[in-house]
Amino acid sequence: MAEIRNYTMNFGPQHPAAHGVLRLILELDGETVVRADPHIGLLHRATEKLAESKPFNHSIGYMDRLDYVSMMCNEHAYVRAIEQLLGIDVPKRAQYIRTMFDEITRILNHLLWVGTNGLDLGAMTVFLYAFREREQLMDCYEAVSGARMHATYYRPGGVYRDLPQTMPKRLETRWTKGKDLRRVNAWREGSLLDFLQAFCDDFERRVDDYETLLTDNRIWKQRTVGIGVVAPERALQLGFTGPMLRGSGVQWDLRKHQPYACYDEVDFDIVLGVNGDCYDRYLVRIEEMRQSKRIIQQCILWLRQHPGPVMPKNFKVVPPTREEMKHDMEAMIHHFKLFTEGYIVPEGETYAAVEAPKGEFGCYLISDASNKPFRVHLRAPGFVHLSSMNEMLSGHMLADVPAMIGTQDIVLGEIDR
């Protein structure tokens, strides 16, 4: 009989369950993983170094490309860091718009997560349903910024522009016309807020659908219950944040504990897991979607009643309108300076964090009183979560590798930066 010994296996970097370009070197004993060594950096673009050679505003677009499924939350951290150093106030309406879009982003992220994680573990259907709802929210991104994903919508001082009064409609195609087209455009007769309102009213039922497909599904539970258990003490030691930490039962949410934007004015609950396994983290994320929906509804209500500016009238940072430029010399000068040189951020350093869908996304910014950041460091939640891969995976079966990558909700864009 042949001698049995440990076997080293390469997983990725091009593997559909790796959620990007992740390479894992797995040391196996039979089918049991003894050691996992993630190799990252295949998507390293040196975002932080690129930012050092560009004026502050030029890098907002790069933030979208870090965690490319929770785009606006990344922007939020970066923009907040700049605002803190500049010491400028953001209009209330812009704060509410940010709160709302952060939550839209959270739903976008969790929908993608529940879809792809289902796919990894053999549940094809939920993926298709999740992407149907994602499409609607992508349209909201497009309506405010013109881009479906990489919005560059948040700016230091507020948001780029106010919410549109009309929601763009779908056009007739060979496949969608007549009755179908009217059905597709049914929610799009009014403003963006009307559209979101309709979406939220409908969304609870959709989440119920996903739960019907997964929560009591025997195969789903076999693949997730008791898999990847992380004790609360270990979760803290390993630097977990977000749903990974809450899945282990630690009550910590930056939106509640260190509120930013308008999170202290909206009502929502922190969702906690009990056992700290993949199944609990799944339940946490599902419930977070419902909570996000609640927040969005409250934001819609507020935004309907409170029109107002979305950018401060601070021409040292915020460009004047096109119209003002035409007849105001000062505005012209400000515009010229802002678009050739950018604005100066006073000397200092700050760390600004937001509760991104994956965990704490932070931005450490050092400015030396110039028009470009001296150093930007982005604290990506996925980087820390992935570093625990060895500990979480050791002792599990090879088939649990996709479950573990899935439950960490990693996106290599933010890990490699």
Partner: protein, 244 residues
């Protein structure tokens, strides 16, 4: 962040009276603790274990290269006949290639390791900064034993800045390519890099080649001490930011 600064400050002063630490609060209201390299681990251990502080989580660790801090590319002291080019011909970040990279200057306190801690118990944050000694190489004790999450962050700081963490269990490169040479986030490392990877038709394999991109930065780096902010800084009670 959202804290009453004096109380934390008092605890820190009391705890580290013998360690020669510097405590400062900046305009944003964030507290920074500057620690001498020899007390790095001791201070970290205390910060985690002291009940009044209880910084259970290391949120972030990163390297900083202070070379060229506050340098201006656009000197407008006197009129010049060179026009715009005097701004864009400078050798600031991103403007040089490997052959023309600035001399690696021996600047005191060139590198820093910056750590962000979080206490869930007291809902507090703290920034730690340490300037590792530079000779023979930037070297600092590891924090992996105290906070396990420091593991990859220290690998990253080693990879990108060449800061060595003594006692780290597995100090390998993490973000750059296998066999990469140099530490790309140092300020004297060109933004365009040094090598490029391409497929060679004749050798029929992927090879490394010297990079051919022209360094191109369109906006000059400008430093302005805006009087509005200078005033605010003066008004701050202890007014001294720790950087530089």
């Amino acid at each position: 962040m959202n804290e009453i600064a004096p109380t934390t400050e008092q605890i820190l002063r009391e705890l580290f009276a013998d360690q020669d630490v510097k405590i400062s609060s900046n305009r944003v209201g964030q507290l920074t603790l500057e620690v001498p390299a020899e007390h790095w681990q001791f201070v970290a251990q205390k910060l985690r274990d002291d009940e009044r502080l209880a910084f259970q989580q290391l949120i972030d660790l990163c390297g900083v290269d202070y070379l060229g801090y506050g340098n201006d590319e656009w000197e407008t002291e006197q009129a010049s006949s060179e026009g715009f080019s005097r701004g864009v011909d400078a050798l600031g970040p991103g403007r040089f290639d490997w052959a023309h990279r600035p001399e690696s200057a021996e600047v005191e306190n060139r590198f820093a390791v910056v750590v962000h801690l979080l206490s869930l118990k007291h809902n507090r944050r703290l920034r730690l900064r340490c300037f590792p000694p530079l000779q023979p190489m930037p070297i600092l004790a590891t924090l992996v034993e105290i906070w396990n999450s420091a593991n990859w962050y220290e690998r990253e700081a080693f990879d990108l800045f060449g800061i060595v963490f003594e006692g780290h269990p597995d100090l390998r490169r993490i973000l750059t390519d296998y066999g990469f040479v140099g530490h790309p986030f140092r300020k004297d490392y060109p933004l365009i890099g040094n090598v490029t990877v391409r497929y060679d038709e004749t050798q029929r394999r992927v090879i490394y080649d010297t990079v051919e991109i022209e360094p191109r930065v369109t906006v000059p780096r400008v430093v302005r001490r805006d009087s509005r902010y200078v005033q605010t800084d003066h008004n701050l009670a202890d007014g001294q930011d720790t950087e530089a």
